[in-house]
Amino acid sequence: MKTLFKIWNNFFFSKFDPVSASIFRILLGITISLMFIAEFPDWERFYSSDGVLSLNEELYKPPFYKQSIFFLFEKFLPVRYLWYLGFIFSITFTIGLFTKFSTIFLYVFFISKTHFNPLVGAGYDHLIVVLLFYSCFTSLNYYLSFDNILNKKRKEFPLVWPIRLIQISIMLIYITTGLYKIVSDPAWLNGEAAYWTIVQNIWGRSNIFPLLGYKILFFSKIATYFTLLVELLFPVFVCIPATRLFAILTAIFFHLMLIIFMNYVDFFQLSMIAALLLFVPDYKMKYWLARARILK
């Protein structure tokens, strides 16, 4: 029992050098900023009481919409101002200015968005909510941040438990979605899942593929089994120090491929890539950043 406590203690309550966490912050911040830009034209349509859900009328009411900052804010100012506010905080989060406050604000903002209009809430929103929620408990501004420039006093390294929770969440996401695939649809076992997905008009970039003809089935087998292998084996290989980097790079490659071959899932892939950076050992990340002359 004592050994178990010791392992638990070392795993969750040791201190860590948050260099990878800082890079995670920058990439997640860029993703969130891009998301804000993409949402600009449809902001009022999706997030005002007068928008697509007609919340002013006695019709469909999402369960938590009254607890959303959108609902509260709209009583005083047009909801467009929330876009400006959210965008500004996505920038301050990216550059590491008032990082803690920006993280908490963005978390509240994202959860409010999904509460106000759950019909537009997708996997990327839920993933970003999880990432921001755990990020509220750690310090993401240790490196490459304005907070660090403004406050030269060297702080102590933070406890690792919030990062561990993100890492465990990511591993569980892979395993869960991999297992669900195996039991839900035979197309995942016979290698045709990628074919159906890529050719499909909404999610697949089928316009890339008309030239392949039936040879697409060969490509589909590779892509389908590669997907299952990454999702089921990433959590195993990332735990073994010797294969960790290989697992991270393979998973990043997997998400980049999804950006190329699929529509409307880019923000999910970018957020996953950002989260994967949290698995990179700090010495390795420092070495890469030093070689790129980003860190001394």
Binding site: G51, L59, V199
Partner: protein, 195 residues
């Protein structure tokens, strides 16, 4: 004397365990529910069962509220057909037009279609799962497109189109990925009168 740092560690550990349990519960609800039923169906006093169920429900609602109730089963069932929605408005002069909404206007750029409209597919898929949601959207459309060339709107029509993807066995003989037949279904029609 109370060791503050130990207390903090215990609290954080409880927090960690709650988070991990929430993940398991929301992703494997069948297994967890079966196990919970097994435990709760033991000859326990009704009062005890009630006392356990109530706070569990509150915890579940709270986890939903803070955004930790996600189910990660993306693309587990893949679509075997192409499908799209078409939303039309009928005006009082009997003229019907396809509303200029994202993904159904043809004169858009790639950036409009794939970047600025990134929320549209998920929105439409969630919308057509419940009639009351459709009605809410229909009211929005009635307000937004209330006249066309001065003629007031009469109703909004939601249509659904489907075209099967050719299965792998027949793909060798085919020069396209899609079957020729397109099926059409009118999902709902909403009157804009009295709005």
């Amino acid at each position: 004397m109370l060791d503050f740092s130990k207390l903090v560690k215990v609290l954080i550990s409880l927090f960690i365990l709650t988070n991990l349990s929430a993940f398991i519960y929301f992703n494997y609800p069948g297994k967890v529910t079966r196990l919970a039923n097994k435990i709760l169906n033991l000859p326990l006093k009704e009062e005890i069962v009630k006392n356990v169920k109530k706070p569990l429900k509150k915890i579940r609602t709270f986890l939903r509220f803070i955004g930790l109730s996600n189910r990660w089963n993306m693309f587990c069932n893949v679509n075997k057909s192409n499908y799209w929605f078409l939303i039309r408005a009928r005006y009082k002069n009997s003229k019907e037009i396809v509303l200029p909404l994202p993904l159904q206007t043809t004169n858009t750029t790639i950036l409009d279609r794939y970047f600025f409209s990134f929320r549209e597919p998920k929105f439409l898929i969630s919308l057509f799962k419940e009639s009351l949601r459709e009605k809410s959207y229909a009211h929005f459309l009635c307000r937004t497109y209330k006249t066309n060339e001065g003629v007031p709107i009469e109703k909004v029509i939601f249509e659904y189109y489907e075209r099967n993807i050719i299965n792998s066995k027949n793909l060798k003989k085919s020069s396209t990925y899609l079957e020729t037949l397109i099926t059409k279904e009118i999902l709902d029609t909403f009157s804009c009168n009295n709005l």
